[in-house]
């Protein structure tokens, strides 16, 4: 009996380690291949110059247009999604209570989260055709905002649900209103969770190609207005991989390294800048 339980413990530990190893291992393989193939093509001019026509045939130039384009697009979309998402998540928890309506909203968001990004792209494209709009930064922002809103709301919603009721009660018993409790206490308590959610949304938004293909278009120059078409990193990778020229294909991998680096930088910067608030969280 004793041996059997020990064997169980051992086997389960081994299985868990194996599963973890598979996850980390495959991630490392992906990274390894991208880095190995991209490093030779990675030059300073990649991030300091914009593309020109010859760039896609192996000529000089870089993808500054796509880097800046992606930053513009994602910064605006994440900000918009956050500004819309936080109030919704607070409403679902602090105002709607345990209502059928709140559950229905959650169900809708879960379904929306599962909708493939190309469908968001197609939807926005239909709207654009209807009103005669052309692919632009603005439409890219709208589409990516729609794409990341479900994960933004549900992510924040789930962390707010973990707030102990006594934290809420402490605020109410000092004479605070719902609004003050929501914005001054609840948001502070869940700040680390909000940061994680924003990063998840950012990851989804910055890496998605299908949603911006038809809506943001592509351009070899940095956009000067909301109405100009805008290049994005995922599409830069896609287009370069699609050329028959080996130099351009290599640069697709170099672009992927840049995209990964960008995500890492944004994640670390966000964590560091908000880390000092998390020490106040009530466990």
């Amino acid at each position: 009996m004793k041996n059997k339980r020990r064997l169980e413990e051992f086997l389960v530990t081994v299985l868990m380690r194996l599963a973890t190893f598979i996850v980390v291992g495959s991630l490392l393989i992906v990274l390894g291949i991208v880095v190995a193939k991209g490093i030779p093509a990675l030059t300073l001019s990649m991030i300091t110059q914009s593309s020109s026509g010859g760039f896609y045939m192996g000529g000089g130039g870089g993808i500054l247009n796509a880097i800046v384009g992606s930053m513009y697009l994602v910064a605006a979309s994440i900000t918009l999604a956050f500004l819309i998402g936080l109030p919704v998540a607070l409403y679902l928890n602090e105002y709607a209570g345990r209502s059928k309506m709140a559950d229905f909203v959650r169900l809708c968001l879960d379904v929306l989260y599962g909708v493939p990004s190309i469908v968001y792209g197609a939807f926005a494209f239909t709207l654009m055709l209807l009103i005669g709009a052309r692919a632009s930064l603005l439409w890219g922002i709208i589409t990516v905002t729609l794409l990341v809103i479900p994960i933004m709301i549900r992510g924040i919603d789930e962390v707010i649900r973990t707030v102990p009721s006594r934290v809420r009660e402490a605020s109410y018993s000092l004479g605070a209103t719902r609004l003050e409790t929501a914005f001054k206490v609840i948001t502070r308590q869940v700040l680390p969770g909000i940061v994680t959610t924003v990063l998840l949304a950012l990851g989804r938004g910055i890496g998605d190609a299908a949603s911006v293909l038809l809506t943001a278009g592509y351009s070899d120059s940095i956009p000067t207005s909301l109405n100009s078409p805008v290049a994005t990193l995922p599409l830069a990778i896609f287009f370069q991989l699609g050329t028959p020229y080996p130099q351009a294909q290599e640069r697709a991998y170099a672009s992927a390294i840049i995209l990964l680096g960008l995500i890492v930088m944004l994640s670390v910067a966000t964590r560091v800048s908000t880390g000092r608030f998390s020490k106040f969280v009530i466990k």
Binding site: V167, A170, S173, G175, A176, R188, K279, F280, I282
Partner: protein, 257 residues
């Protein structure tokens, strides 16, 4: 009961959780600037009674309640009454310390800040207000050098006294305590008891306890609840030496707890 008019008068309080009635036609008078203890066995509705006094109870899901609660002859259950002002006048200290996710200083400053209170501003500014509240709860000497550190780093006993200081900061009339010492070690518990006794000079104190000895030690008045009903209430001395009701007698003799 004391001769003067009660500070708080609960009339015909009925509380339901779903279909279960937890308080049945409760009538309680609470005298001003004294310590009133609510005692009774577990699950008799002590906490429910306490939490209905500052209308915190109605925040819970599935609660139905009906009553009149007169504080200085004004019914605080009336629709025209601003619930946030009720909760400031009757400050509640929970069973286990319920801190806000902020620094020690901000925990105390939060109440006055949200309510836009200015009494402390005119007197001596927010720093002095925080200091005064911390002194009143006997915590000042221990934390004066680390007011900006997270409140959650304090020991449990200190946290409970911080909750007391925080409650004082909103300038309440009544202090409600839900077993304020049950989560504390004996020394910290003694600290809190002493503070409550000192505070009863200026405030009306109501506390829930399951230890008879504590009630006997510090309460002037006792309310005995059993199965959601008030069995007996009155002056502490008479209550403990000459209980009128056979159920009270049995409880005091330890027949059930």
């Amino acid at each position: 009961m004391s001769q003067s008019k009660p500070h708080i008068s609960v009339q015909n309080l009925n509380v339901f959780y779903g279909d279960t009635q937890v308080l049945k036609n409760v009538n309680v008078d609470i005298p001003r600037r004294q310590i009133t203890a609510i005692i009774g066995p577990s699950g008799c509705g002590k906490s429910t009674l306490l939490r209905s006094l500052n209308r915190l109870l109605e925040l819970s899901d599935g609660v139905k309640m009906s009553c009149k609660i007169l504080v200085d002859d004004v019914d605080i259950m009336d629709k025209s009454v601003d619930v946030t002002s009720v909760r400031k006048r009757l400050a509640l200290i929970a069973q286990s310390p319920n801190l806000l996710p902020m620094s020690i200083f901000d925990n105390i400053a939060y109440g006055p800040r949200v309510s836009g209170m200015s009494w402390w501003n005119e007197l001596d500014g927010i720093d002095r207000m925080v200091e005064r509240c911390l002194r009143a709860s006997g915590l000042w000497e221990e934390v004066k050098d680390r007011l900006k550190t997270p409140a959650s780093r304090l020991s449990i006993g200190q946290q409970q006294r911080l909750c007391l200081a925080r409650a004082l900061a909103v300038d309440p009339e009544v202090i409600l305590c839900d077993e304020p010492t049950s989560a504390l070690d004996p020394i910290s518990a003694q600290h809190v008891e002493k503070q409550l006794q000192a505070l009863s000079m200026d405030y009306t104190v109501v506390f829930v306890t399951h230890t008879l000895r504590q009630a006997r030690r510090i309460a002037n008045n006792v309310v005995f609840l059993y199965m959601g009903e008030v069995v007996e209430q009155g002056l502490s001395e008479a209550f403990f030496t000459h209980p009128q009701n056979p159920t009270t007698k049995a409880y005091l003799d330890g027949a059930f707890s």
